[in-house]
């Protein structure tokens, strides 16, 4: 498919004939097939989405295309009129295939100019031509309609500008196709909008963009076609028109999700958390809310709306300057998160990799770290107590592990998150704050996390569920609060409101 025949007109060939076409792509790592006979194609100037769960083969495919990996014999990579059995990083760059990695691969201590025109320092040793590099950088930025001080070190700029620098760098080498791996993961909504605008501009100027994102709303908004991978194999290629988020999810996981609203009124229950007019300048203002025993309160809103800051204030890691809050009727004045934990507040960080869990250390140690006093015996830590405490929680939350002594990093995202939840449950909290608990968790494993949340609520725990994915809070919380610019701007009852209404309010 996709081969233009001889008598097609030139303009038709330009739109239908693929710029990049891969067939027979097989890739094996240590006996595991990472890619199974995958086919993939990109047309000139289109915005194409590559969708799939973690481990479905998206990154492997990108690395094959950019020459980082060499596929098995028999692969055919057709690009802009040439056929290759495999790519090399140098050829890929020279031919205009550019990648913006999720971690951006930038150099924070070096100047913006050097970051953008970095290819100028590669190759054969010679003197550096700084004025040429500045020129290239300024031109690349102006193509995006941006002005930055190109002499400043990159670290002086925020993540959104760094993203732009990475894009500018990709455009320097006459890019024909740009791969973007989760480009919006750490951007706020207005920054994301800005990025999507740039993507549209690239597409209009004839540069194809392959977009990898877990934010399905964004994917549907920007792309024209969607290629779905599952377990290293191609599921299919679909036009974005007529697609829905749930349809993509089904294709990605191969399962149908029967989601229903779990909300139940808990008005008869005693109040656990009572927040009155809490504020911290520049982060959140005048926030009032209550969470009752057994109640799950969802907080949604865009990144940067002040959700995590509010959570950190309740957890004693950020000092509010106005307002008060109380736990079980006792006013809370936390000097640190240790006071918060003592008072029964637990906070599951949104950043599991660097703040939530200590990745190199063992499953057992990660689970007991917040409740060491429970495994003391005669003033010393007891291995037996640790082992039985860990075994109990592992069984309770259905975590799949090999040995307790294995590093936590060997577990999947979903299982890691279960251990992180167990770590906090072991502190006997009254209030559990879950900040984006499904980040980096496969779509298929998310339901399991929410089943746990529901069970915890049933057992009487007060829960705050924070997520920027509206459906998550809609289906799993008893009430949904909408935060924007540091304030609570809407309160919804999922039984009274349709999901689309809340989504419209949040993404507006």
């Amino acid at each position: 498919m996709g081969h233009g025949s001889m008598h097609q007109s030139a303009s038709a060939a330009r739109t239908d004939q693929p710029l990049l076409s891969l067939r027979n792509i097989n890739m094996t790592f240590g006996g595991v097939k990472a890619l199974k006979n995958v086919t993939f194609e990109v047309r000139p100037g289109e915005v194409h989405c590559l969708a799939g769960e973690n481990g479905s083969g998206k990154s492997t495919l990108i690395k094959v295309i950019t020459g980082v990996y060499r596929p098995a014999e028999g692969a055919i990579i057709e690009y802009d009129g040439d056929v290759y059995p495999h790519m090399s990083p140098v050829t890929a760059q020279e031919r205009g295939i550019q990648v913006i990695w999720q971690d951006l691969a930038l150099f924070p201590e070096m100047s913006v100019a050097e970051n953008i025109a970095f290819h100028e320092v590669l190759g054969r040793p010679r003197l550096v031509d700084y004025s040429r590099m500045r020129q290239i950088a300024i031109e690349a930025l102006s193509r995006l309609g941006i002005t930055l001080d190109v002499d400043l070190p990159l670290k002086e700029y925020a993540i959104a500008q760094r993203q732009i620098v990475a894009i500018a760098r990709a455009l320097v080498g006459e890019a024909k196709v740009v791969f973007m791996d989760e480009p919006t993961a750490s951007l706020t909504q207005s920054e994301t909008d800005y990025l999507l605008e740039i993507v549209r501009g690239l597409s209009a100027s004839g540069v194809a963009v392959v977009f990898v994102s877990h934010r399905l709303a964004e994917v549907l908004e920007i792309s024209s076609r969607i290629t779905v991978l599952r377990d290293g194999a191609l599921v299919g290629v679909y036009p974005a028109d007529g697609m829905t988020q749930s349809k993509i999810t089904e294709l990605m996981t191969g399962k149908t999700f029967d989601q229903h609203v779990r909300a139940r009124a808990k008005d008869d229950q005693p109040v656990v958390l009572d927040v009155r007019g809490l504020g911290s300048p520049g982060q959140f203002e005048d926030v009032s809310l209550t969470v009752r025993r057994g109640e799950t309160v969802g907080i949604t809103g865009l990144l940067g709306a002040g959700r995590s800051e509010l959570a950190l204030a309740l957890f004693g890691m950020l000092k509010p300057t106005s307002g008060t809050f109380s736990i079980d009727g006792r006013e809370a004045r936390f000097a640190s998160n240790r006071d918060a934990i003592k008072a029964g507040v637990a906070y599951l960080s949104e950043d599991r990799l660097s703040l939530g869990l200590i990745q190199p250390q063992s499953i057992a140690d990660n689970l007991v770290i917040a409740s060491l006093h429970k495994i003391l015996s005669g003033g010393l830590l007891s291995d037996d107590r640790k082992r039985s405490l860990v075994a109990r929680w592992i069984a309770d939350l259905g975590v799949k592990i090999g040995h307790q002594a294995d590093a936590i990093s060997t577990l999947s995202g979903g299982n890691q998150q279960r251990v992180a939840i167990a770590k906090w449950l072991a502190t006997d909290p009254k209030l559990l704050i879950l900040d984006s608990p499904t980040v980096g968790v496969d779509v298929g494993a998310r339901a399991g996390i929410f089943d746990i949340v529901a069970k915890l609520a049933e057992s009487g725990l007060a829960i705050i569920l924070i997520s920027d994915e509206v459906p998550e809070v809609y289906f799993n919380a008893d009430r949904v609060l909408h935060m924007a610019q540091g304030r609570i701007v809407g309160i919804y009852d999922p039984h009274q409101t349709r999901l689309e209404e809340i989504e419209a309010a949040v993404y507006a």
């Binding site: 240590g30 640190s336 998160n337 703040l355 190199p360 250390q361």
Partner: protein, 332 residues
């Protein structure tokens, strides 16, 4: 057989392989090379030399486990020794009583602790790199010590001090007893106390540890304080062994202690490492230098061989990781 091996491996940890292998190798090589090697004289000299280096290594171990380093250990030990020496000199010199010695030792420990507290506070509160903080502390303490002593020796202590340095109880040298007690204390501290647990966690990820409700600043200050106290104990033992104190004494041990930690499988970035493998690594180092002495080499050659041993063990670890990787690849 493999089951037994697995059990041993599980109790001792993967860090044990390097020093364990080196231990066996040293015995085999010197057992053949020199008939006197397997004699009580060898073990006597090891038993007396081990404690100084060993105590300083224990002082180095804790900061390394938190992902730091304490380059001030030798001069902290010197200053603690000086403190004790002055207390003894000011209270009768050779006629000073044992009570004075105890008071002096207590003051020495406090001086060691003070050096640790200052470094710990600076590291915990400014997040300055521990190498730099302890390096400048080292330069400061060296200057302070030389200023106070004018580069000279202080000697003339009561005779029982010599007994502490050279005497034996039930055939075991007193310094060795002190060292073994300290090894066991550190083993207990790291394996069975909250501070020990938190030391490893901080070494792997300080922020995540803080988010888990651990007072990381307090723990870091404690770690460096304990390191300083261990230096003071080393300083007291050194005073007793040489019957004198001189600033700069034991200076050459500084980088050897780091070497011993790495040889004992401690992760240079922190978070992993145990006391017992480090202890075995120390014994290997001392056996090596005793063995080389027997076949006519001096301490300097031993130092070079120590360096070669570290390189050898690191290369073996690299080879082992390569083999493991290829087995995993073939196996699955």
């Amino acid at each position: 057989m493999t089951a037994v091996f697995e059990r041993i491996k599980a109790t001792l940890g993967p860090e044990m392989a390097g020093p364990g292998l080196a231990f066996v190798a040293v015995f085999v090589v010197f057992g053949f090379a020199s008939p006197q090697f397997l004699s009580s004289a060898t073990f006597g000299s090891v038993a007396f030399q081990l404690p100084e280096l060993g105590l300083l290594t224990l002082a180095m171990l804790l900061p390394i486990l938190t992902g730091g380093l304490n380059l001030a250990i030798t001069f902290t030990a010197n200053l603690a020794g000086l403190t004790l020496a002055w207390v003894l000199k000011a209270n009768g010199g050779v006629d000073a009583g044992f009570g004075i010695f105890l008071v002096g030792s207590l003051l020495a420990v406090m001086v060691g602790a003070a050096s640790g507290v200052v470094m710990g506070l600076v590291i915990a509160f400014t997040r300055a790199h521990p190498i730099l903080v302890s390096l400048s502390m080292m330069i400061f303490l060296r200057g302070l010590g030389e200023f106070l002593t004018r580069g000279g020796d202080i000697s003339g202590f009561p005779s029982f001090v010599g007994v502490i340095g050279h005497g034996s109880v039930a055939g075991i040298p007193v310094p060795l007893i002190v060292f073994i007690v300290c090894v066991l204390a550190w083993h207990l501290l790291l394996g069975r106390t909250k501070l020990g647990f938190n030391t490893y966690m901080i070494g792997s990820n300080l922020e995540a540890t803080r988010y888990s409700g651990i007072n990381t600043r307090k723990e870091i200050v404690l770690v460096y304080t304990l390191s300083g106290i261990m230096c003071a104990i080393a300083g007291i033992i050194m005073l007793a062994r040489f019957n004198s104190v001189r600033v700069g004494h034991g200076e050459s041990y500084l980088l050897i202690t780091v070497l011993a930690c790495f040889l004992g499988g401690v992760n240079p970035f922190g978070g992993f490492g145990r006391v017992i493998p480090v202890f075995v690594a120390l014994v290997v180092l001392q056996l090596l230098s005793s063995g080389l002495n027997l076949i006519g080499a001096n301490q300097h050659l031993a130092t070079a061989v120590w360096g070669i041993l570290l390189v050898g063990v690191m290369i073996l670890r690299w080879v082992a990781s390569k083999i493991k990787f290829s087995i995993v690849r073939r196996g699955s």
